[in-house]
């Protein structure tokens, strides 16, 4: 086969591969330049994070506004300290807002929902949520109910 034809066909092959990678990036993993944009950090302490996992979403009124960056144990209070990365555009979360762990659907992933407070002051980067609500634990709920507490 002529050298030129081979070059063209192999070139098309490589381009097909690149296009496929682009498709995986944009359509399948939903990678967009915006999603990796500026974010700032907030903290929230929970007694029980349940099945919360890093990369989980942080939402407000059902709209995703950030992601869970990491979850670690605070060795002084023995609470879980969750690091939240919030989109820089949302910089006016009222200071008395609460971070609540919720489950999407009955068996879905757990995520953090921020229920909005009414304070005029807003949380600034590095702040910690004052009030939090831990994961709902179905078993504990049932045992509490059964023992009448």
């Amino acid at each position: 086969m002529a050298q030129r034809t081979t070059e063209v066909i192999v070139g098309l092959f490589m381009i097909a591969g690149l296009a496929a990678l682009l498709f995986l990036a944009l359509q399948v993993s939903g990678l967009s330049p915006k999603s990796a944009g500026d974010r700032y950090t907030l903290y929230a302490n929970f007694n029980d994070t349940g099945g919360l996992a890093p990369r989980g979403k942080v939402s407000m009124a059902g709209v995703t506004i950030g992601a869970i960056e990491s979850i670690e144990l605070d060795t002084e209070t023995f609470q879980a300290r969750v690091v939240l990365a919030i989109d820089a555009g949302i910089d006016n979360i009222p200071a008395d807002s609460a971070a609540v762990i919720r489950t999407s659907g009955l068996l879905g992933d757990q995520y953090i929902d921020i229920s909005v407070g009414g304070d005029l002051e807003s949380l600034s980067p590095g702040d910690t949520f004052y009030s939090t609500q831990s994961a709902m634990n179905l078993e504990r709920l049932i045992s509490n109910f059964a023992s009448g507490r």
Partner: protein, 260 residues
């Protein structure tokens, strides 16, 4: 009795020395980087044989595997009323596991065996030794382009496999079984991460491509130069590549996706 023990020991030493030879062989190939002017056309030619000609089998297998995933996923997930999650299921299965692994297995069967047979025949007909006689390094001229071609072609093929598979799954799930298209893509996008899932899959296929091409060219170069030797080397290529791919896949999965 002593003879048997001696044979066992000899067999073990043979295996170990073959590992050693393959390592030295690899160093020889990688060290002898061909000059771009002469090496590039050779590489291109091998990319055509190894990559482009494997495209058909990879695309067809990808399509059917994606369609089967869509069908199986739908029957199971619809029991729980969460059939919209098949997008996520198909994408993660393909991108993380099936794309790299199945492509590598197909590649070993389609391209690896051909490489071994070709190089083995070159050795049997003494083309390799006559090259050496002419002062041309066969490692550089014959082996290196084939190794690099396998190395480059495999990730490309694996990515194409995943994309075609996802498309096949969409065909079955969305177009035939009526899963809502927005939920199909939405679930997929919220659960697949570019770096953690897609790029780790690509890294896997790079490793597999390297291992498959290495085994194929080594078996060809090291074969007994008879017709029986070539046929056993070709069989070994497919068997060893498949085992290496599946074994390495476990290790890589444990490193990449295991939480420890």
């Amino acid at each position: 009795m002593m003879d048997r023990i001696a044979a066992l020991g000899r067999g073990g030493l043979d295996v170990i020395s073959s590992f050693g030879r393959s390592g030295r062989f690899l160093v020889g190939v990688l060290a002898g980087i061909p000059r771009p002017a002469t090496g590039f056309p050779l590489l291109l030619r091998q990319l055509y044989f190894v990559g482009v000609l494997s495209l058909a089998i990879v695309v067809v297998s990808g399509l059917f595997i994606g369609m089967v995933l869509g069908l199986q996923g739908y029957t199971i997930l619809s029991d729980y009323g969460s059939e919209a999650a098949i997008g996520q299921m198909i994408a993660l299965t393909l991108v993380r596991e099936l794309g790299p692994v199945v492509t590598a297995l197909l590649f070993a069967g389609r391209a690896g065996s051909a490489l071994t047979a070709e190089i083995g025949l070159m050795k049997a007909t003494e083309q390799l030794s006559s090259m050496e006689m002419m002062g041309v390094d066969p490692l550089r001229r014959v082996i290196a382009p084939r190794l690099w071609a396998g190395f480059i072609a495999m990730p490309v093929l694996a990515i194409i496999f995943s994309v075609v598979g996802i498309w096949g799954g969409m065909l079955v799930g969305v177009d035939w079984l009526g899963v809502f298209e927005g939920a199909f893509w939405g679930n997929m996008q919220s659960s697949v991460d570019f770096v953690d899932d897609v790029l780790n899959g690509v890294i896997k296929s790079v490793v597999f491509g390297f291992v498959c091409a290495w085994i194929a060219v080594y078996q060809g170069y090291d074969c007994v130069p008879t017709s029986a030797g070539i046929s056993s080397a070709t069989t070994k290529t497919v068997v060893y590549s498949s085992l290496a791919v599946l074994g390495l896949d476990f290790v890589l999965t444990a490193v990449m996706f295991g939480d420890f």
